[in-house]
Every structure is written in structure tokens, then in C-alpha cells.
């Protein structure tokens, strides 16, 4: 590799890319050329740095100056001042890194201080489209060690001793899964990677694929060696074009370097892989549905047993792991299983990546050791709730999970603790809600999602979730009745017990969990016909504030159902019985004399 005096790392993760980071990269290249610096300073397009809220982000090494919210027109100044004259442009630095008289290193900032980067270690650090950079950061060392010094049984033993559990949501011990598949005798076996990332509001797997695709290739090769497979597939959502592109480039480079193919590293071990695209079906994240989809069928789950480890893709023994699970594997072999097991809690080892979103200051990606508390994640790393609002709940586990209310903020994050609270780890989506969010509406949102995504194969899930949604619709529209809550609970338990796959078995969780912690909100909707957060349109009431009304009559003219009456120059009144709550009057009133309650 060539040597440069400075590296300009520009985040090309999806968040920053959408905010225009390509233009910034191009401006850097043009400006550097203009000043004749193109052989001294290199511009690298990297994966996600994590702090998406402040994108586009540019980091300049060796100083590690962290520029945030950079605009294309700022580039000229950065090149002239920082790269030419060596003067950091303080004005554009991430404010948290600027102390009174000195500039803090990025690792001292609240957002990064408590993070431990294992799965994300290369994200934002290397150029994912260049295999040499991965290799320079110990890439493909683990596979070399595995192929030249270890037996498959030893490989499985290491994964087992590390305590690694599946990061796709279920938390199944990875080593055990590999052991099952290694024991199935067959001439053909498959290794699959689940990159379907269906949880709406989660983008950890995408960031790993975009930022460090070779780690996944290396890990899948290790898995293939452990179970005796020669073919792999990565099943990726079609909605992730950048991830697909980078992974495809990486696979081709690995082939060129003899790290995939018929004779890997000259050891005679044979393994190759391919990317397969999903086509927008949440249920395809479930392992048997994913297998059906790769086979070219409708992605419908199949009953288990037989488990994929025995009879999976094309009827052959198969293992499927999540992207983040794989991202940990090379590190476990490089640093030893004891190192990995030293992080985390008794039953959940290592770290977990979360995608922080919703009403939180630092939206973005964070990786924390298991056992970190929810409070630390949300209020220290995440920087708390914006606009001085009050925290209400955090949702984890997406449509299969539940919420964590304020009284449980001190829970230590691990698989078992979250389940005990009626939520789950899930794949890592963590959405924060504040006092302005209505929990009944959120439950309705997730049910709407599952009804949409239920594949329709089994009745409890197909019909049951629809009935639950109807009741939730009724409640949010202000037509809730006594007995609705009980009916929701009965349906929920039936669906949980009788559904074929994980989708149905977990679909009622968002309702059950909000009922546990926010039953009063449900009751307010049903009994008092009030939405305490003021979200549910159907329950809103519009009023004219008499003192503010100038009697101009604009509202009455705009009202589509003529429910506003009054005489010019005197306060108007809204007839709530006729009002359809469209909100036009509030929008049009020039004197802000109409309020919604």
C-alpha cells in the first residue's frame, strides 16, 4: 500500500450518503488536486462511524479530527487550513470534542467512551472496497490460523467456549448450532448468512456489510470449515443496494486472492459464496422461510423439526447465522475465546450493536458490552431526549419485542434480562419514545406491521393478528369498549401458543408489553375517550380559545363539514359532535386561536 501523510475518511454509510457525502468526497479530491496534495493526502470512503445524527462526518487522521455536519462548501476551508497549514478548523469540529483550550480525542467523547467495538471494529476505519486494507487490519489471519492449525472440532470448541450467542434475535448458542450441523453426515452442506434485517428501525447489519464485508466472508469460511460445507449464500434485503454492491466487490476480491474458491490459501479447502436478494418480505428473515426463498419459492416458514442443521437448504444440512454474529467470529479466533467471554454478563458474552433511533439526541449505531444499562445507553451514549422532553419508553426487538419504561432503565442489557421484562434483545433496533408518543398507537403500529407481513400460512397468525388490529384501531379511533383489553389478552395468548413460526409467536408482544406498563393509557382511550399524548386523531377535540378569536370566520369557511359557527367579530364555536377532526381550522387560523386537545 502507498503511504500518505494524512487520511481523510469520509463516511459513505447510508445515513451520511443520503446527506450528500459523495459530493464532499469529490470536493476533497478536487481541492487536494488543486493544491497539489493528491499524492500526500488520500481520501477514503468508509462505512458508518455510528454518529448518524451528525452526518455527514469526515475524520482526518493522524490527528483524528472529527468534523461533523460537513457541507460541500466547507471542504475548501478544511483543505486549506487543516491539510495545507495544519490548523484544525475548530468551527466545524464535533462540538463535544472541543474543550475550552484543547481538542479531545474522539474516544473521550460521551458517545464513544463507553463503547467497545468488536463487530464494528473496522467500520469507518477501513475502505471496505479494498481487500488490502482489511488484510492490513489483521484480516484473513483468523482463517489462516483455522485452516492451517486447527481441526473442525477445535474450531467448534473455540466458538462454544467464547459463549457467543446468535445476534439475530433468538440468542441461540452459535457453537452448539455449528456442532449440530457438523454431526449431520452428508456430501453437501451449506452456510448461510441472514442479512434480511427486517426490524423496521434497525440498520446494524447493513452497516457491517457496508463497512466491513470481508469480515463476513472470512467468518462464513471458518463456519464452512467447521461443519464441512463448500457453498455459502448471503441473503440480503434488496433495499440495501450499497451493502450488496460492497459485498459483491469483496467476494470477487477474495476469489482473486485465493481466499474463496477451490484451494483456499493452498490448503485444499474448498468454499465459495454468492449473494441472493430478498424482495421485501419480513417473514423471510425467519430461517426456514429464508431457505424457501433462496430455493426460489414463496418465503413461507416450514415446520421444525427437521431443523436446518439436519435438513435445510435444498434438503441438505445448513447453518444460518446473522451478520453481526459472523462479524464477531474472526476476532474470537484472533484474540481467543477467553477474551470474548471476559466481556458481558454471566449468560450473555461479548458486545451488542444497537441502532439508536427515535426521540434521542445521538441517533446512530453504538456497540456496548453486554451488561451495560439501558440508562447508560440512552442518557450517556445516546445523549438523552431532545427538546427537554420526558423519556417514556424504549422499544427493543421491533415487531417481536416490547418496551422498557422509565422504572426499568437500570436493567443490565442481556438476552435474559430483556425477556424477563417482556421485551427481547432482538436484532438491535432501539427506538426511544418520549411523552409525545402514544403507546396504544405504537402497539397498533406494530400490529399493523405484522398483519401486513404475516405470510398467511397458519390461521392463528393470519386471522388472530387481524382481529387484534381491529380492536386496536377501534380503541385509537375512540370507539373502544369495556372488554376490549381482555379480548386483546385472550387473543394474544392464543396467537403466541398456536402460531407456526416466530413471527406469529412473538407478534402479540408489543401489545402485551404496553398493556403491562401503560395499561392506564389504554384505559384513558377506552373509558375517558382521551389520548393522553394527543396522538390519536380520532380522539382529538378542537377548541376555539375565546380570548384569542378575532371572529374573522376563516375557520368556518374552511371547515369541510360546516361544524364551526359564529358571527363576525365574535368568538366562533366548534361543534365537537359533527367535527371530523381534520385539523384544517387549526392550520388556517391566522391568530392561533384554535387548539387540539
Amino acid at each position: 500500500m502507498e503511504m500518505y501523510r494524512s487520511h481523510v475518511m469520509i463516511c459513505k454509510g447510508t445515513g451520511c450518503n443520503s446527506a450528500g457525502s459523495e459530493r464532499i468526497a469529490q470536493n476533497f479530491e478536487a481541492e487536494l488536486k488543486k493544491h497539489g496534495l493528491e499524492n500526500e493526502v488520500v481520501v477514503e470512503r468508509t462505512g458508518c462511524f455510528g454518529l448518524c445524527a451528525l452526518g455527514p462526518i469526515v475524520i482526518i487522521y493522524p490527528e483524528a479530527s472529527f468534523y461533523s455536519q460537513v457541507k460541500p462548501e466547507d471542504v475548501e476551508e478544511i483543505v486549506k487550513e487543516h491539510l495545507l497549514k495544519g490548523r484544525v478548523v475548530k468551527r466545524l469540529l464535533y462540538a463535544e470534542t472541543v474543550a475550552e483550550d484543547k481538542i479531545k480525542s474522539i474516544n473521550e467523547v460521551d458517545f464513544y467512551k463507553k463503547q467497545v467495538r468488536v463487530a464494528l471494529r473496522n467500520c469507518g476505519v477501513i475502505n471496505p472496497e479494498n481487500i488490502d486494507e482489511y488484510i492490513a487490519f489483521d484480516g484473513y489471519k483468523a482463517i489462516e490460523k483455522v485452516l492451517t492449525t486447527m481441526t473442525p472440532a477445535e474450531v467448534i470448541d473455540v466458538v462454544k467456549r467464547s459463549g457467543l450467542r446468535g445476534r439475530g434475535g433468538g440468542g441461540f448458542p452459535t457453537g452448539l448450532k455449528w456442532e449440530f450441523a457438523s454431526k449431520s453426515v452428508n456430501d453437501k452442506k451449506y452456510v448461510l448468512c441472514n442479512a434480511d434485517e427486517g426490524d423496521p428501525g434497525a440498520f446494524m447489519d447493513r452497516s457491517v456489510l457496508e463497512g466491513d464485508p470481508h469480515a463476513i466472508i472470512e467468518a462464513m469460511t471458518i463456519a464452512a470449515y467447521a461443519i464441512g460445507a463448500d457453498q455459502g449464500y448471503v441473503y440480503c434485503r434488496a433495499e440495501y443496494p450499497i451493502a450488496v454492491k460492497r459485498l459483491t466487490i469483496a467476494i470477487n476480491q477474495a476469489r482473486e486472492y485465493g481466499l474463496l474458491g477451490d484451494n483456499i490459501l493452498g490448503t485444499g479447502f474448498k468454499f465459495d459464496m454468492e449473494v441472493r436478494l430478498g424482495a421485501g418480505a419480513f417473514v423471510c428473515g425467519e430461517e426456514t422461510a429464508l431457505i424457501a426463498s433462496i430455493e426460489g419459492e414463496r418465503g413461507m416458514p416450514r415446520p421444525r423439526p427437521p431443523f436446518p442443521a439436519v435438513k435445510g437448504l435444498f434438503g441438505k444440512p445448513t447453518i444460518l447465522n446473522n451478520v453481526e454474529t459472523y462479524a464477531n467470529i474472526p476476532q474470537i479466533f484472533l484474540n481467543g475465546p477467553e477474551w470474548f467471554a471476559s466481556m458481558g454478563t454471566e449468560k450473555s458474552k461479548g458486545t451488542k450493536v444497537f441502532a439508536l433511533g427515535g426521540k434521542i439526541n445521538n441517533t446512530g449505531l453504538v456497540e456496548i458490552p453486554m451488561g451495560t444499562t439501558m440508562r447508560e445507553v440512552i442518557f450517556e451514549i445516546g445523549g438523552g431526549i431532545p427538546n427537554g422532553k420526558k423519556y417514556k419508553a424504549a422499544q427493543t426487538g421491533g415487531p417481536s419485542g416490547g418496551c422498557i419504561p422509565a422504572e426499568h432503565l437500570d436493567v443490565e442489557i442481556d438476552y435474559d434480562n430483556l425477556i424477563a421484562l417482556g421485551s427481547m434483545m432482538g436484532s438491535g433496533g432501539l427506538i426511544v419514545m418520549d411523552e409525545d408518543n402514544c403507546m396504544v398507537d405504537i402497539a397498533r403500529y406494530f400490529l399493523d406491521f405484522t398483519v401486513d407481513e404475516s405470510c398467511g400460512k397458519c390461521t392463528p397468525c393470519r386471522e388472530g393478528t387481524k382481529r387484534m388490529l381491529e380492536i386496536l384501531d377501534k380503541i385509537t379511533e375512540g370507539k373502544g369498549e369495556k372488554g376490549d383489553i381482555e379480548m386483546l389478552e385472550t387473543l394474544a395468548h392464543t396467537i403466541k401458543n398456536a402460531s407456526l413460526c416466530g413471527l406469529g409467536q412473538t407478534a402479540p408482544n408489543p401489545v402485551l408489553s404496553t398493556l403491562t406498563y401503560f395499561r392506564d393509557e389504554y384505559e384513558a382511550h377506552i373509558k375517558d375517550k382521551k389520548c393522553p399524548a394527543g396522538v390519536c386523531q380520532g380522539l382529538a377535540k378542537y377548541f376555539v380559545i375565546e380570548e384569542k378569536c378575532k371572529g374573522c370566520g376563516i375557520c368556518a369557511k374552511q371547515c369541510p363539514v360546516s361544524c364551526i359557527s359564529g358571527k363576525p367579530k365574535t368568538p366562533y364555536v366548534i361543534d365537537s359532535a359533527k367535527c371530523v377532526k381534520c385539523g384544517v381550522c387549526l392550520e388556517k387560523c391566522p391568530f392561533k386561536a384554535i387548539v387540539k386537545q
Binding site: 447510508t14 445515513g15 443520503s18 446527506a19 448518524c52 445524527a53 452526518g55 427486517g198 426490524d199 423496521p200 428501525g201 434497525a202 440498520f203 447493513r206 434488496a238 433495499e239 440495501y240 454468492e274 441472493r276 436478494l277 430478498g278 424482495a279 421485501g280 418480505a281 419480513f282 426463498s293 433462496i294 430455493e295 426460489g296 419459492e297 414463496r298 418465503g299 413461507m300 435444498f314 441502532a355 433511533g357 427515535g358 426521540k359 441517533t363 446512530g364 422499544q395 421491533g398 433496533g429 427506538i431 419514545m433 408518543n437 405504537i442 403500529y445 406491521f449 405470510c455
Partner: protein
Amino acid sequence: MAEMTFKEKMDKLDHIINEHKQKPGALMPVLNDTQELFGYLPEEAQKRISEELNIPMAEIFGVATFYSRFTLKPRGKFTISVCMGTACYVKDAQGVLDRLKKELNVEAGDTTTDGKFTLEATRCLGCCGLAPVITVNEDVYGKLVPDDVPDILSKY
């Protein structure tokens, strides 16, 4: 580059089919590429796929209707996708969607009568940091409020 004619696209389809034919489970990659090529799955293309891959039309229809990315109707020139992922939803993506429906006078999933816009509600686009987010073809607009909608539409 000039827009390909239907016939040229059908020829391209033969290439697509040949490229994937030998793979196990070829149908999904073929349909994905076909959707990309035409913007939807025309019946004629489905027939060709059925003949070449030796899969009954009924089965292709079954697969094509199962996955939300596959569409059987032509789409508008611009597809507006409104993210209804959780992070966007809690930041009033619904308000943005409602405003788009009103401005375009279509429901989600439909195309305007002039064939210009197709409006869609989708799941997480992966830029939750910019919530709420919409995309118009490849362009991404973030941190929106409903009142931003008319300005965005006027650019197309």
C-alpha cells in the same frame, strides 16, 4: 442513454435468464433482475421466464405476488417511498404520508393518473438518523415536516 424499447428489454431478459439458469433456485434472482429492468413484471416476461426455467405460470404468479418488491403493474416515472419504519413513525412519518396523499390525490400503493408519481409506504430505509425520511427514486430527503412536501414535489 435512450430508454430501451420493450423488445430490447425482452432480449435483455433472455440474457438475464441465461445468466441465472444453471443456478439452483434461479427464479428469485431472475425476478429481481426483471423487476429492475422493466420496473414491473409484465405478463409477457413472466411467460418467457416460465418457458425458459420450466416453472408453471401459476407458481411464478404465486412468488411474484408474495414479495412486496415485485409489482405486476407499471409504475410512475418517479416512485416516492415514505419510510414508515419505527424511527420515522415516532417522528410523524404519518403526517408526511398524509400530506403526500393529499397533494398527489392518490392512496399509498397507487400511481397518479398522469403516470408521474407512484406513492409507496416502505419500511426502514436505513437512515433513521434523518427521520422522517422519504425517497424520490434515488434522492433522499430527511428530517421532514409535512409542509416540506409541496417544495419537494415541485422539483420533479
